[in-house]
């Protein structure tokens, strides 16, 4: 390896916060970071297929401008000079936004998503858009239109979806952080399968203005990055009320990084005795229990308890996004069903026959179920933890519905069972890596807190990462 390549590789191995600090101290330029990221994509994309479009010229021009500003003593914000890339469903005025689909291949939105604007206002550089499941609707990373995204730990395996490119690009050290979206686990599933950190905030925590809609009751905007600290910085930047999205919460956004003190003494962590471990793979269970031991060693107490109404939650969660996405896609499903993948059109189709009374029932019971959770669970514990995914990471071939893989539809349900339930409850949830399975693929676990307890779940995740190195492991770049 040449000295220049070694230098670039060292730069891409920095965490997002380390990269921000290095720019701030003048140890590295934004141009150098951006070039390193673009080169990493160039090297990695041939195998993992994580990006859809990169804009080298514009990214380097922006980086050059940010370097000039810094030299003049000005910093735009806490992300000054750091390159990011995002799931290709966040609108940027005048830029193509495919949503991972054939239908929107030529779509150029007229306005920019609030989350992107906030990240750029804080000094980050958007260098391109990332691969994703078609219209954000599969948990595996298959994409019939732009090619499957591949897991950087092993190319035969799923990277997780729907934010597949975000998970794979962060894991492969192509980029410091990326926006994903999470309606049933689409941030946490790729985070878990690729061995990175990903958080969805409380429902309504982040503005959805300019984000492709999938299911207005359960859609969340959030980041994937290497560490809980990175995610804390990104979530704080994008969180908070946005007049352009009246559904976004007015609840103040805390200083999530300031909460990362590693102190878990007296913290009560719940581990469910029902639902979340049903049919769980023994390797996943073992990694999860080992993670609980790490948290205990920091002074946390583990309490085993039942989570109420999980049968109902599982049932309701399975239909809400299905009905809402069927509604959103109705016109295209009538006029151009052939332009969808087999998997997605099949999934959408079933949504047209779910009775409205059951959809309303599912929505109307979110409140009572959350209240029951508040008293029966959060009255006893501060957070609860579960495996992010019950099964080991499956291969792309075994879960390829378009190719007719037997059992693939059922596997989709199992993959997202633990995450989807959390979206229904609206809770903040962070997934962090906690081991590897016997195939060499990452295992993750997720931590949930009360509504708007983002600081607390990030604190637990960060404390775990202070004592472990799962998040520091780097896949050997294929090829």
């Amino acid at each position: 390896m040449t000295a220049a390549r070694e230098r670039a590789s060292a730069l891409t191995r920095l965490t997002l916060v380390q990269a921000c600090e290095a720019v701030q101290r003048g140890e590295v330029t934004s141009v150098a970071l951006t070039e390193a990221a673009l080169d990493a994509f160039k090297a990695g994309d041939a195998t993992i297929n994580a990006s859809i479009a990169l804009d080298r010229e514009e990214a380097l021009e922006t980086a050059w401008g940010l370097d000039k500003l810094r030299k003049a003593g000005r910093q735009l914000g806490p992300l000054h000079g750091v390159p990011l890339a995002h799931k290709d469903m966040y609108y940027r005025a005048g830029k193509p936004c495919t949503c991972g689909s054939k239908i929107r291949r030529a779509f150029r939105p007229a306005y920019t998503a609030t989350a992107i604007k906030r990240l750029e206002d804080a000094g980050s550089i958007t260098i391109g858009s990332l691969n994703m499941a078609e219209f954000a609707q599969n948990p595996t990373g298959h994409n019939a239109h732009f090619g499957n995204c591949h897991n950087p730990w092993h190319l035969d395996y799923c990277p997780g979806g729907s934010s597949s490119g975000s998970g794979a690009a962060v894991a492969a050290r192509c980029i410091y952080g990326a926006l994903g979206s999470d309606t049933g686990g689409s941030i946490r599933l790729p985070a878990s399968m690729c061995g990175v950190t990903g958080i969805k905030g409380t429902q309504t925590r982040v503005s959805r203005y300019g984000a492709m809609p999938l299911s207005f009751s359960a859609d969340n905007v959030g980041p994937l990055a290497r560490t809980a600290r990175d995610c804390a910085r990104l979530l704080r930047t994008i969180g908070g009320h946005d007049p352009a999205d009246p559904t976004s919460s007015t609840e103040p956004v805390g200083d999530y990084e300031a909460a990362l003190d590693g102190d878990l003494r007296e913290l009560r962590i719940g581990v469910p005795t029902n639902f979340f471990f049903d049919g769980a793979d023994p390797e996943v269970q073992a990694a999860f229990e080992a993670a609980m031991k790490v948290l205990e060693s920091r002074g946390a107490r583990i309490l085993r308890l039942a989570i109420p109404h999980m049968d109902a939650v599982n049932t309701y969660a399975s239909i809400v996004s299905r009905v809402e996405s069927a509604t959103i896609h109705a016109q295209w499903m009538r006029e151009r069903p052939q332009d969808y993948s087999i998997q997605l059109s099949g999934r959408l189709y079933a949504g047209y026959a779910i009775p409205a009374v059951h959809y309303v029932e599912a929505l109307s019971r979110r409140g009572p179920i959350l209240r029951a959770l508040g008293s029966e669970v959060f009255g006893k514990v501060d957070v609860f933890a579960t495996p992010t995914i019950r099964m080991k990471v499956p291969t792309l071939a075994a879960t390829d519905i378009d190719a007719g893989a037997p059992g693939a539809i059922e596997a989709f349900g199992v993959i997202s069972a633990n995450t989807r339930a959390i979206n229904y409850m609206g809770l903040p949830s962070v997934s962090i890596p906690c081991g590897f399975d016997s195939d060499g693929l990452p295992i993750g676990f997720q931590i949930q807190g009360r509504p708007f307890a983002e600081a607390r779940v990030l604190k637990v995740a960060d404390a775990f990462q202070q004592d472990t190195d799962w998040h520091k492991r780097v896949p050997v770049r294929p090829g």
Binding site: M333, S345, A350, I354, E361, R365, R366, G367, L370
Partner: protein, 68 residues
Amino acid sequence: MSTNIERQVEEQAKVWSGVAPPNAASGNFTRGLTEAIQGFERTRGQLGFEDEPSSFEAALQETKERTP
């Protein structure tokens, strides 16, 4: 049951939304609805219906993290 539900879904989708079965795989997704139907059967009588339309947002506030 499976053949029956496929027929029912086809009729509902056609009549209410003008959407036709897009491919053979859609039948597999349709058959998957039986699990949801069984789930709804099991939840009958477990929870009371709530009239408050903004109940979820209210519940987020009621159950949120309180800083000391």
